[in-house]
Amino acid sequence: MKPSSTFKNLVNYTMFAVTGLCTLIAVGILFFILGYLVYNGGKSLSLSFFTNLPAPVGEIGGGMANAIVGSGKVLLLATLIGIPIGFLGGVYLSEYSTQQIAFTIRYITDLLNGVPSIVIGIVIYTVVVHPMGHFSTFAGGVALGVMMIPISVRSTEEFLHAVPQSLREAALALGAPKWKSIVTVVIPAAMRGIISGTMLALARVAGETAPLLFTALGNQFWSPGWNQPSATLPVMIFTYAVAPYEDWHRQAWAAGFVLLTLVLLINITARLALSRGTYVSRG
């Protein structure tokens, strides 16, 4: 017997409602988090948050200027380490490697991408912090840089792959050696994508806390240079959120709000860059 049309309609509506509701929840979570942070973080935010050092225990107020600068330095270093390696690895993967080798490399980078960030923290602690004898901005940058490498490799590879083969052939047919065709045609054609991939990688590691606990550690004061323990926003949030002081909780909310805004800004900029960089031709 065929199911009646009422039954089919019922199933149809149920599926529509259930899938729609789940989508709503998925999207809603972001807005819930955002709203919660704006509410709690926004009201704790003040100019002094951006300009002052953390206040001593017992004193109300103070800011996280050192953590904001610290996060900036760690992310800068991470970018300097992760992006060149990831970018050039991606170029090799897309332009030079044979299929079998590419498969292996892709698999390995995916595995690296899947390594829990706390494990990366321990490893960098062992190979950088321990020999140096102290925590440092440098170690934090290395840890986050390592995390950026696989993301950067894969996104570079993907965007280079999207460059039409016909462009490579056009360059070669004009007598350009392969490396020149890559530098002058293939990479420029994929540049916007690669840059936005880089920014997404940056946004991805900007909120990492676990690897920084073992590497940059934290600091209540300024951390000049690269060689001393440094405050960073994620670690500050952790420290302040688990502390027993009401005022510190407010500071943690404010830090969370600043961090999320930063990550969202990077994300949105990256997407905008990408949407304008699609390869379109009338021909």
Binding site: A170, A171, L174, G175, A176, S181, V185, A189, R282, G283
Partner: protein, 255 residues
């Protein structure tokens, strides 16, 4: 077959070509006369595109291919020479126009720049203009040389690709179905420009369109299943072919 007085510029000797285990070309021996247009015709998959891509060694960009035999340019085997130098002498225009995501000017100047052209800025400008004039595109683009090439129409883009190929003054120009994506007006423009280029360049054109082969070429080769079935003057191929397969194809009985 009538003997031809023009000297041969490019020739292949007993060319076999394989994609992995599949043999795509069987013993192709062919001469291309200097400053004439040779058309290669045949049904899809007959190997004519594969063949033309061997003439400037573009086949080497595809992994797992193998080629035996000889390809002689002015009597020298191009397979034994520097591949970039070969491609500089034997230019190529592809089926689908493929301008670089650069300005019109930079597209044409590209060949000069990557080959370490020694002249200054003015010299490059001169070559760009000359090439665009030759490709019958100058009048249409002279006011927007520094705009993106992607703003051009399909036919203009294909002429831009021809200008780009001409900028490095190739001795031989290979065209792999250059008009297959173009309308009749754009096609006519490209055919006109081939006539004009003939005096200085040896031209080989692969085409699906038999009328086009009849219109533009001096010689025609008919390919079928990876073999060169018949090669002769275009008139002979279209009006008095020797082989039954050629006749069937040019009269439209198959293909």
């Amino acid at each position: 077959m009538s003997k031809v007085p023009a000297p041969k510029k490019l020739s292949t000797e007993n060319l076999d070509f394989y994609y992995g285990a599949f043999q795509a070309l069987h013993g192709i021996t062919l001469d291309f006369q200097e400053n004439l247009i040779t058309a290669l015709i045949g049904p899809s998959g007959c190997g004519k595109s594969t063949f033309i891509r061997t003439l400037n060694r573009m086949h080497e960009t595809v992994k797992g291919t193998r080629l035996t035999g000889q390809i002689l340019l002015d009597g020298k085997d191009i397979l034994k020479e520097d591949v970039n130098a070969v491609r500089l002498k034997v230019g190529m225009v592809f089926q689908k126009s493929n301008p670089f995501p650069k300005t019109i000017f930079e597209n044409v100047a590209y060949g000069l720049r990557v080959n370490g052209f020694q002249g200054g800025k003015a010299a490059i400008q001169e070559v760009v203009e000359k090439s665009l004039v030759k490709a019958a595109l100058w009048e249409e683009v002279k006011d927007k040389l520094h705009q993106s090439a992607f703003g051009l129409s399909g036919g203009q883009q294909q002429r831009l690709c021809i200008a780009r190929a001409l900028a490095v003054e190739p001795e031989v120009l290979l065209l792999d179905e250059p008009c297959s994506a173009l309308d009749p007006i754009a096609t006519a423009k490209i055919e006109d420009l081939l006539f004009a280029l003939k005096s200085e360049t040896t031209i080989v054109i692969v085409t699906h369109n038999m009328q086009q082969a009849a219109r533009v070429s001096d010689f025609t080769g008919f390919f079928l299943l990876g073999m060169m079935i018949e090669f002769n003057t275009t008139n002979t191929i279209f009006q008095n072919p020797t082989k039954k397969e050629t006749e069937d194809y040019v009269t439209g009985r198959f293909g």
